[in-house]
């Protein structure tokens, strides 16, 4: 297989983001910026229209993707990638595909998924990817067989709980990024 190397995309919102000069103290606090800050992403400023949910979700998102121990980081990224592909969020998919390749120093998993050849994945990646896809459709198609497959490649309950969260938080994030804006190739 030729190796797929993805370039980052830029995200553009469909609605006007909050202008820092007009942001309320609560919005500024949620964005963790002072009014003099120049660089806050369009994504953050778009979601700052509802600062309560933005703040709560950001804290949870960071815990799910970056908390210590438990499920290995690349496995969380693979869960995020599988969900993002089902949910059609090209921006999220590229971000987390690239992160997976960086963390593993290997492009094979990303290549297999972008060339739609999941049958070439190793057993652990295949079990994670399949569960991510089946849990992400509405309604869920995940079954006890998926859990059995994860256990058969050596995952314990703590790791599976971490994976459920990594997949599910992209059921959330994808429904923001892909709904409130669109992705274009960067420069």
């Amino acid at each position: 297989m030729p190796s797929v190397r993805l370039k980052p995309l830029n995200w553009h919102p469909y609605i006007a983001p909050v202008e820092l000069s007009e942001a309320t103290p609560e919005q500024l606090d949620a964005m963790k910026v002072t009014p003099s800050a120049k660089k806050v992403s369009d994504y953050v400023r778009t979601l700052a229209h509802d600062p309560e949910s933005y703040l709560a979700r950001t804290i949870l998102f960071n815990a799910i993707m970056y908390v210590e121990d438990g499920l290995a980081r690349p496995d969380r990224e693979l869960g995020a990638l599988g969900a993002s592909m089902v949910n059609g969020c090209k921006f999220c998919a590229v971000v987390h595909a690239r992160r997976h390749a960086e963390l593993t120093k290997n492009n094979d998993v990303v290549t297999a998924l972008y060339l739609d050849r999941p049958e070439t994945l190793g057993p652990r990646d295949a079990a994670i990817h399949s569960f991510a896809r089946r849990l992400s459709v509405t309604p869920s198609e995940a079954t006890a067989d998926d859990i059995a497959a994860l256990r058969s490649v050596g995952m314990n309950d703590i790791e599976i709980i971490d994976l459920i969260h990594a997949i599910s938080i992209f059921g959330w994030a994808n429904r923001l990024m892909h709904v409130l804006g669109h992705a274009e190739p960067g420069k």
């Binding site: 609605i15 229209h49 509802d50 709560a56 998926d146």
Partner: protein, 160 residues
Amino acid sequence: MIDAMDKAAGLSPDDALFKARRFRPEFVNGAEECRLSVLRPANDQGLSADLRLALAYRMAVLNADVALTEEYGSQLARLGPTGQLSALAQGKTDLDEPLATIARHVDLITLTPDKAEARHIALLAEAGLNNPRIVALSELIAFVNFQTRIATGLRLLRSA
């Protein structure tokens, strides 16, 4: 103490999975904070609590989540919803505006988020939703779809 996610997943303090879930207090507390931020926000951005619950019920049904459907149904019933909101919760589409447009959007993003396009946000704006309301609605939709997946995953893990 049992929280909303334990309840949705059918976990009691005796379950090994209830304790395993507590290995990640960040996830347990974080999910609860998120639930409050979209279902009982201090500032509702013009989306009332009964409207939010009616939409949550509608999305729980689309996700075929019996436990969350029951939970949102009983919470909504306690607020004494209007006929329009009851119809919205029950999946009806012949509703007054802006509820009809909101309902179509909620169904689309719950079932087929990959089909979302710029025009769907434009339709919400045409129905009178301002930007804070569009974002608050998006977060509510996204949260319920997160919640149903966590609950589904935990239920599978508990019984497997």
